[in-house]
Amino acid sequence: MINVKDVERNYQTGETVVKALRGVNLDIGKGEFMSIAGPSGSGKTTLLNLIGCIDKMDAGEISIKDEAVSKMKKKEKTNFRRKYLGFIFQTYNLIPVLTAYENVAFVLSLLNVNEKEIELRTMAILKEVGLEGMEHRRPGKLSGGQQQRVAIARALIKNPEIVLADEPTANLDSNTGKEILELMKRMNKKHQTTFIFSTHDQMVMDYADRLVILHDGQIVSDEKR
C-alpha cells in the first residue's frame, strides 16, 4: 500500500548539507504494525514526515494507495491527509480549549460528517480507547496517558488507512507507554489500520510486528517478527 523508492532528503543549513535520508526503499502493506527504530538523528522523523505528506523529498518517490506523493500539489496533499492519514505526536498536541470529545469530533467536521453520526462515532471511539466518562474534560485535566488516548482516538476516528506516530510513548512512563502500545495494537488488529511508529526504546520495538532500523539515513535492518 505504501511504496518508498530510493528516497533522499537533504537539509541545507548554511554551507553544510545534511543527508537525512540517503536512498530509502520500503514496502509497507495494509494492516502492518511497524516500528522504525534507530539512534537519534538517523532520519526517523524525516521518513515519517515524508510518508505523512507534510515534507518534500529531494529524490525518489513515495506512493500511497498508488498515488505518487511528489506529484501532488499542496492542496491535494492536505486533502489526502485529511482523508487517509492519522497522526499521533510525542507531545499529544491536543487543542487545549477543546474537550476530549471536541478534539476528536473536530476531525469528522473537517470531513463534513453530519452531527448525529459525529456524536455516535466519537462516543464510541472514546469508549474504545478507555475514556468513557471523561469526554468533557479539557486536555489540561487529563494525564499524559489519557491525552495520548485522546490523540489515538483523534487519529483513528476517521478510519484512516495509515496512522503515523513519531515516538508516541517518549513522554510517558513505561507502564503508561505499554498501555498505549497495547491500545494501538488492539486498534490495529480491530480496524486493520496500518500503524507506523518511530522509537528508540527497546520495549516499544518489541511490540512491533515488523522492525525497520535506520542508521545515518539508510535502512540497515528490516525484519518481520
Binding site: I54, K75, R81, K83, L85, T91, N93, V97, V107, L110
Partner: protein, 411 residues
C-alpha cells in the same frame, strides 16, 4: 465547519486573557473616543444650526436685493419695506414666525471715550415668540416700544462698568450717511448662549432704531422660521414668488443653509472627522495586529497539528481571523457603550467652552451639550469592528503560509 471554527476561536479568546483584554481595550477606547467626538460634533452642529436660525439668519432671511453686494459699507438705506412685507408673510402657509431686525455698528460714548458695539433694533413682542427672550434676560426688563431704552449684553455691560438704570449715548451713521446720536437707558441685561452676542451687542426697540437711523419704516432684514417639516429652501422660493407677485419687487430671500458659510464648514468637518475616526481605529488596530501575531507564534505547534490533520490554510486563517473579530466586536461594544454613557452624562452637565472661545466670532454656544446620534453610534460600532477585523486579517493570513512540518518542529 465554520461554526466549529467560530466556537474554537471564541474559546481561544480566553486563552490569553490579558492580551485579549489589551486588544479589546485598544479598540474599545478608540470606539469610545469616536462616539464621544461625534456626539460633540453633533451637539455643536445642532447648536450652531439653532443659533444661526435664532440669532443670525433665521431659517429664511429676507433682505434688500442689493444689500449683500454693499454689505461692507453698512448700506442701511437698502431696506425691506416691513409694513407691506409683514402683511404678505402672515398669509403664507409655510411660515411659522418671523421678526424684523436692524443691526448696525455703533459707538457708545461713555465719559469722554468711544467704545465700539453692535446695536440691534427689534420688535420685542414678536421676538418673544421667535426666541426665548425671557430665558436670555438675566436681569431687568425688556425695552418698551417708543421709549429710548435698551437691553445690553451682560458681558459688554460688565466690560464697560455699566448697569441697569445707566444712560448711554449711542452714535451711528444713518441711512442717509449722516451721523446721529441717541441716548438710551439700560433697562435690562441679557445673556444669549453665544458668547459673542453678549460681549458686543445691545438691543433697542425697532421703532427707535428706525427713527434714529432714518430708515423710513424700512428694516434691514426679516428672519423667518418655517413650519415643522417644511424645507427652508423650498419655503424661500415660494416666499420669494409671493412677494414678487404682490409687490413687483424682487428681494434677496434665501435659506439659512445657503447663507451660512460656517455651517457648510461644519458639514465638511464632519467628513474630516470620519477620517480622523478611521485613523483612531487603525491606531487601535495596531495592537490587535501585534497580539494576533504573537498568538500565531505561540500556537505554532497547534497550527502544525491542524495542518497535518488536513486543515487547509484558509481554514486556519479563519480561526485567527474569527478570534480577532470577536475581540473587536466585544471591545467595540464595550467602548461604544462607555462612549454613550459618557455622552449622556456630559450631555446633561454640558461642556463649558467659555474661556476657550471667548473673543472668537463663531456661532457656537459657550456651553456645549454633546448630542448622541443613534445612527452615527451604530455606524461607529460597525466602522470600528470592520477596520479592526480587517487589520487582524493581515497577521492571520500568515497562518496559511506556515508549513506543518516546520510548525511541528517549532518550540
Amino acid at each position: 465547519m465554520t461554526t466549529k471554527l467560530a466556537k474554537t476561536a471564541l474559546r481561544n479568546i480566553s486563552r490569553n486573557k490579558r492580551r485579549s483584554i489589551l486588544s479589546g481595550t485598544a479598540i474599545g477606547v478608540s470606539a469610545m473616543a469616536i462616539v464621544f467626538l461625534f456626539s460633540i460634533i453633533g451637539g455643536m452642529t445642532e447648536d450652531m444650526a439653532f443659533n444661526l436660525k435664532t440669532y443670525y439668519t433665521g431659517e429664511v432671511r429676507i433682505r434688500n436685493i442689493d444689500y449683500d453686494k454693499y454689505e461692507r459699507y453698512n448700506p442701511l438705506h437698502l431696506t425691506v419695506d416691513w409694513e407691506s412685507v409683514k402683511d404678505l408673510l402672515v398669509d403664507i402657509e409655510d411660515i411659522d414666525k418671523f421678526v424684523p431686525r436692524i443691526s448696525f455698528p455703533a459707538n457708545l460714548y461713555i465719559e469722554g471715550s468711544n467704545f465700539g458695539a453692535m446695536g440691534v433694533g427689534a420688535n420685542f413682542s414678536l421676538e418673544a415668540g421667535f426666541q426665548d427672550l425671557d430665558g436670555s434676560l438675566k436681569s431687568g426688563r425688556l425695552p418698551e416700544k417708543g421709549k429710548n431704552e435698551m437691553i445690553m449684553g451682560a458681558v459688554l455691560a460688565r466690560d464697560l462698568k455699566l448697569n441697569i438704570g445707566d444712560k448711554v449715548t449711542v452714535m451711528s451713521t444713518t441711512a442717509a450717511r449722516g451721523t446721529n446720536a441717541i441716548t438710551l437707558k439700560i433697562v435690562g441685561l441679557f445673556s444669549f448662549p453665544v458668547g459673542a452676542l453678549n460681549s458686543k451687542y445691545f438691543w433697542l426697540p425697532l421703532d427707535r432704531a428706525q427713527y434714529f437711523l432714518r430708515m423710513n419704516g424700512g428694516v434691514q432684514e426679516v428672519l423667518i422660521k418655517v413650519k415643522e417639516g417644511v424645507d427652508p429652501k423650498k419655503a424661500a422660493a415660494s416666499i420669494s414668488s409671493v412677494i414678487t407677485n404682490n409687490t413687483g419687487k424682487t428681494l434677496d430671500i434665501r435659506s439659512w443653509e445657503e447663507l451660512s458659510t460656517s455651517y457648510g464648514l461644519m458639514k465638511m468637518a464632519d467628513m474630516i472627522y470620519n477620517f480622523i475616526a478611521m485613523f483612531f481605529f487603525l491606531l487601535g488596530s495596531t495592537v490587535i495586529i501585534n497580539t494576533t501575531m504573537m498568538v500565531i507564534f505561540e500556537r505554532m505547534r497547534e497550527i502544525g497539528t491542524l495542518g497535518a490533520m488536513g486543515m487547509h490554510g484558509k481554514e486556519l486563517v479563519r480561526l485567527f481571523f474569527f478570534e480577532g473579530t470577536f475581540i473587536s466586536m466585544i471591545g467595540a461594544a464595550v467602548g461604544v457603550a462607555t462612549g454613550i454613557a459618557i455622552t449622556l452624562y456630559v450631555g446633561k452637565v454640558g461642556l463649558d467652552f467659555t474661556d476657550a472661545i471667548s473673543g472668537m466670532d463663531f456661532e457656537v454656544s459657550s456651553i456645549l451639550y454633546p448630542k448622541l446620534s443613534i445612527g452615527k453610534t451604530i455606524f461607529v460600532y460597525f466602522y470600528s469592528v470592520i477596520i479592526a477585523a480587517g487589520a487582524t486579517l493581515i497577521p492571520s493570513k500568515k497562518a496559511a503560509k506556515i508549513e506543518p512540518v516546520e510548525a511541528l518542529r517549532y518550540v
